[in-house]
Symmetry: D4
Subunit: 200 residues, 8 copies
C-alpha cells in the first residue's frame, strides 16, 4: 500500500457516452468506489482529462469534489496520457511503483499508458470495472493486449482488499467504502446489525 | 397527477437478496427514483413491509429517511399487502384511483396487490424497473399475468413523464430527479451547460 | 386453496434431455419445489407419464418417493394427457376447479392439456419454471399461446404464496419449502437467526 | 399507402445518449431507413423535437437534410408531442388515418402520442426498431403497454413492404432503400448481378 | 388433421442471408422438420417463392426434392403471398381451414399472409421456429402483431404433436421425424434400445 | 491424488449474497460436489471462514455437517487466508503440494491465496465453478490474473476425473458423486438401468 | 497434412446429454464436419469410446458408418484416453505428430489427452466446436488450461483450411464438406451458380 | 505510423454471409472505418480477394471506390494470403514492419497470414472488430490462437489513436473519421458545438 498510486484517466462526462459495456449507473458507482479507495486509504492520486473544455466535457463532478487539492492534468492533444510530460511528472512525483489505472475508453486511455508504464518498469494494475468502452468485443481485445504485456486485470473490490489486507487495521475504511458502493454487502450488514439489536 | 398514489411494497434489505433480474446498484437507483418522483411531486405514498423485524429486514434506509411522516404499514403475515386492512385503509385514504405499485418480489408483492386493486376498480401501473425478482423467466411470467389482467407496465422514467407532462410546469422537479437518477442525461446537461458558459 | 389441484405431467428422466431452457439442477429444484407445495399443503396431486417403460424413462424418482399413494397414470399413446380418460377421471375426482400444471415439454405436455382444461371451464395456472422445453423461442411461443387462451403463467414461488396467503397460518410449511428450495432466502434466515442467537 | 403518414419524434442527437437497447450505428441506420421510406414513397412526414436548442440537441442532421421543406415542430415543454397543438395540427393536416410513429425514447416519446392517437381513432403503428430507449426491460414494458392499447408493433422493413406490396410497382424505391439500409440483401444482389454479368 | 394444410413461403437460399435470429444449421433443420411433417402425414402443401430466378434465389433444394408433385407458386411482385391469386387458389383448393405457415422473413412473408388469412376466417398457426428474420427485436414485434390478431404461435414439434395426438396411431411417422430432426430424442432412443438389446 | 488437498474458503451464507455470476441453486450444487469429492476420495480438507459470527455468516451448514472432524479456521481480519498462520499451518500439515481452491469471492478469497501459494511453490488449481463473485467482468478478470500467474482453472467434474482417472478403481465414488450432483448423467443412468431391467 | 491425425474421443450418444454449450443439431453438424475432413482428406483417424455398452451409449451411428475400417478403441475404465495403451498405440501407429482432438466433454475427454500429448512432444490442436461440455464457464476454463499448456484452439473450418491450403488442389473435397456442413456458404454457391446458368 | 501498413483481406460481399458474430451494418462500419484510417493517414494498403469472380463475390464496392489506385491481389486458390507471392510482394513493397490485418473470416483469412507474418518477424495487429466469423466460439478460439503467437488484438478506434497519438497533429483526420464512423462521439460534438454557437 505504501507503493501504490491511483491514476484516474479521462473519466469525463462527454466521454461516458462512448461507454456501452457497462450500465452507466453501475459504472459511475465503480469509478467512485475506486476514487473512494484512494481517498480513504490516502493514496496519491493523479487525475487527467483530455481537452475538458471541449466536447469530451469536464471530469465527473463527484471526482473533482473528492480531490480538491489534486491538480487535474489537462491534456491538449496527447491521446496517451503517458505522452504528456506533466502527467508523467505527476506520476513520478508520487514515488510509487505500483500503478492502478482506470479510464475511458479502456482500449485507449487505459491500455496505452498501461503499456507505456510497463515498459518503464512499473507494475500496472488495470481497474477493469472502473474502465469502460464501446462494447464487449473491444473490452476483451484490450484486456488481452494488456494481459499479454504483463498488466494485471483487477476490479475495485479486489484492489481494495489487496491494499488493505486486514479488517482489524482497515475495517472502518473498508466498511465505509462497502456501505457506499456495494449494496449487497450493505444489505447483509443492516439485517445482521438489526437482528443483533432486536435480540440483544 | 391529482389522482395518483405511489405504493412501495416490501423494498426490504433482506428481500433484496432475492432480486436477481437487476444489478443491485441499478435496481436501488430505480427504486429511489420512483420514491423521488413521489416526493418531488408531493404524491401520497403508502409504504409497507413484511415482518421487517425478521430476516426480511427493514426497508431500505434511504426510503425511510425520505418519508419521515409516512407510517410504514408493518404486515405480520399477509403476503398480499391488499389482504392487510391497514394497508387497504391507507390506500383508500389517499383518495386516489390511479395506483403506481413497485416492490419485491414482482411476481408476488407487486402482482398480487395489483390484481386485487384492479378487481376493485383501481387503475394500476406496475413500475417494473423498481420491482425485482428471481430471474427473467419469473419476471416475464409475472408481467404477462398482470398485463392480461389490465395492469399497465411502466418504468420510473415514463411514470415521471406521464405525471408531469410539461417541462414548463415541472421542469425543476424533473431536472432534480434526472440529475440524481439518470446519469446519461445528467452528463449531457453538464457538457451542454459548460459549453454554453465557455463560449458565452 | 380448497379448490386447487397440482398436475405433474411427464417429468420423466429421459424427457429431461429435451429441456434446454433451464439448467438441469435448477430445473429439478423447481419441479421438486412444486411437488413439495402439493405435499406440504396436502393438495390433491395427479401424476402422469408417457410410456415410462420406454426411452422417455420413468418419472423422477424423487417425485415417486414423495407421493407413494398416488397412482401414476401411465399413458400409452395419448400425447395430450387430457385425451386419456384415466387422467381426466383423476382430475375430475379431485373435485378442484383450479388446476396448476407443469410438465415436459412446455409447448406440448403443458400447453395441450392447459388449453383442453380451459375449454372445459377450469381455471388453469401453468407453473412455467417447473416446465421445460427445447429453447427460449419455443418457450415464449408456448407462453403466448397459453396466455392468449386464458392460462395464467406463474412460478412455483408465487403459486406457494397464492395458496398460503398468510405466514401466520402457513408459516411452517412455507419455511420448510423455502429452506429446501430457495437458498437465497435460506441464507438470509441462517444469518439472521445466528446473529439473534449470538447477541441474545 | 394513401392513408399513411410518418411521424418522427425527438430523434435528437443529445437524446441518443439515452438509447442503450440498440447499437448506435445500427439504430441510426434504422431511423434513416424509415425516413427514406417516407421520402421515396412521398408520404407526408411530421417531425418534432423537444427543446432542440437545449441539451437534447438538434435533430439528426441527416433527417433535417432529407426533408428541407418540412417545418420541424419545436416543442418547448410538452413531453407528449400530442399535447402540442402545432403537432396535432400538422398530423391532422396530412389527412391520413394510419400513423407510423418512431422516436426517442420508446416508452415516452413514442408510447404517449401512440396512445393518444389511438384514443382519437387513428390506427397506429410503432416502428420499434427506429425507436430506442434505456434498456430491454423498459423496451418490452413499453411494447406491452402499446400493444394492449391496440398499437401495432412493426419494423422498418415490414412497414416498407406493407406500404409497397408489389415489387412491380415499387421495385425501384424498394431497391434504393434496401441498397442503402439492408446490407445483407445488398450483398446478395451484388453477387447475383456480377455472376449474371460474368457468365453472360 | 383432416383440416390442416402446410404453407411454405419463400424459404429461398438467397433470402436465408437475412435470417439472423437462428443459427442456419438449426434453422434449416426446423424448416425441413416442418416439411417432413407435411410429407409423413400426407398433408396438402402449398409452396411459393418470390422471384426465385433473381437474387432471392431458388427454394432450398431439399424442399423441392421432397415435394416433386407440388407446383411452386412463383410470385413476380406480390410481397404478401395472399395477394397472389394463384397462391390463394392453391390454398383454397386444399379445402383446409387450418393453415400452418412458415417462411422468410417472419415479419413480412409470414405475418402478412397470416393476417390476411385470419381476416378471411381461416385459423392460422405460425410455425415460428421454421420462420426467420433479421434479429430478435423484429421477431418479437412480428410475434406480437400476429398474436394480437389471433394467430397462434407454435413450433414444429408441437405442431407435429397437435396433428398426431396418439403414438399408437402415428408412432412410425413421429419416430421417423424425431430421428431425423430431434437429436436429443434420437440419442435417448439409441441408448435405450441398445441397452435393451444388450441385456436381452 | 496422493498429493492433493482441497481448500474451501469463505463459503459463508452471508457472503453468498455477493455471488451473482451463478444461479444460487446451481452454485451450491457445485460447491457441495467439490466437498463430496474431498469426502469420497478421503482427501485432506482445509476449511476457513472470515469472521463467521458477523454479517458474513456461518459456513454453509451442509459443509459443516460433511466434515465434523475438520476444525474450521476462523479468521478475524486477514482477507487473504494465506496471511493467517493457522491456515498456512493447516495446509502445510496436509503435506500435499497440489492445492485445489474454491471460495467466495473468486477475485479475492480464491485469487489471493492462489497467488500466494504459487509463489511458495505449490501447484494450484482454482475450482472456478465452485467459486463465485459479483459478475462476469470480475470473474474473467480474476481468471486472467490467476491464469497468468500459473494457476490452472478447472471445474469440479474435471477435478473429479483428474483425481480418479479410472472407473474400475473409483467407479463407486464417481457414481455416488455424479448421482448427487450431475442430474444429466443421473438421468441417463436411470433410463439405461431401467431398460436393462425391463428387457432382462 | 501429411503429419496430421484426427482423434475422435467419446462422441457417444449418451454423453451428448452432458453437452449444453452448443445446440445439439449444430454440435452434431460440427462433429460430422470434422469427421468428413478426415474422410475426404484421407487422414488417419483414431476413435475411442468409454464403456459404450453402458449408459454412455454407443458412438454416434453416423461416425461408425463413416469409418467402417477403423477399430474403435473401447476403454473400460480410463477417463483419459491417453492412459489406455491401445489408444496410445493407435495414435503412435499413425506416425503423425500433429494431433487434432475433439470429444465430449471438452474439459476432460479433450483436455486430458491434449495435455498428455503435449507433454510427449506432440503438437496438439483442439477442435473446440466439435467438442462440448456442461456450460460456458467450464468451456472457457478448459480452453484456458489447454491454451496455457500450448494446445492450439481451432474450429473445424479453420482446420479444414489449414490442412488444404489451396482450392486448386483440394477444391472438390473442400466444396463437398462445405455443401454438407456450412449452409451459409452453400446458399451463396447455389444462388451464384443458378444466376450463372440463367444468364448463360 | 511511418512503419505501418493496413492489410484488407477478403472483405467480399459473398463472404459476408458467413459473418454472424457482428451485426452487418455495424461490421461494415468498422471495416470502412479501418479503411478510412488508411486513407486519411495515407498509410500503404494491401488488398486481396479470394476468387472474386466466383460465389465469394467482389470486394465491398465502398472499399474499391476508396482506393482506386490500389491493385487488388486476386488469389485463385491460396486460402492463406501469405501463400500468394503477389500478396507477399505487395506487403514487402510497403517497406513497413507493423502490419494491421483485418478480414473475413477471422479464424482463417486473418489468423493464417497473421501467424505467417509473425514467423517472418513482422509485428502484427489484428483489427478484431473489422474481422468477422461464424460465431463467438470461433472468434474467441481464433483470438486465443493469435494472441498466444504474439499477435496483438486491437479495434479500429485504438488503432486510429495508436497511429495518431496527438490531436494537435492529426485532429482533422481523427475528427473526419469519428464523424463518419463513431456516432456517439459525433452526437456529443454536435450538441457541444451547437450550444457554443447558441450561447456565443
Amino acid at each position: 500500500m505504501n507503493d501504490t498510486a491511483i491514476l484516474l484517466i479521462d473519466h469525463q462526462v462527454g466521454l461516458q457516452a462512448l461507454v456501452k459495456d457497462f450500465d452507466t449507473v453501475g459504472f459511475q458507482n465503480n469509478v467512485l468506489a475506486l476514487a473512494d479507495i484512494a481517498k480513504e486509504l490516502k493514496l496519491p492520486v493523479v487525475i487527467t482529462a483530455s481537452v475538458p473544455e471541449g466536447p469530451n466535457g469536464p471530469l465527473m463532478p463527484e471526482i473533482l469534489k473528492m480531490f480538491p487539492d489534486v491538480a487535474v492534468v489537462s491534456r491538449h492533444g496527447e491521446v496517451n496520457a503517458w505522452d504528456n510530460p506533466e502527467f508523467r511528472a505527476a506520476v513520478k512525483k508520487t514515488g510509487r511503483k505500483q500503478l492502478v489505472m482506470a479510464g475511458i475508453v479502456t482500449d485507449v486511455c487505459v491500455a496505452f499508458p498501461a503499456l507505456s508504464a510497463i515498459e518503464e518498469g512499473y507494475q500496472v494494475f488495470a481497474a477493469v470495472d472502473a474502465s469502460g468502452t464501446f462494447n464487449e468485443v473491444v473490452r476483451y481485445a484490450a484486456w488481452d493486449r494488456m494481459s499479454q504485456s504483463g498488466v494485471q486485470l483487477m476490479n475495485w473490490f479486489s484492489i481494495l482488499c489487496e491494499l488493505t489486507r486486514d479488517w482489524r487495521v482497515h475495517g472502518p475504511a473498508m466498511t465505509d467504502i462497502i456501505l457506499k458502493h456495494l449494496p449487497e454487502y450493505k444489505n447483509t450488514m443492516i439485517t445482521f446489525n438489526q437482528s443483533s439489536n432486536h435480540s440483544g
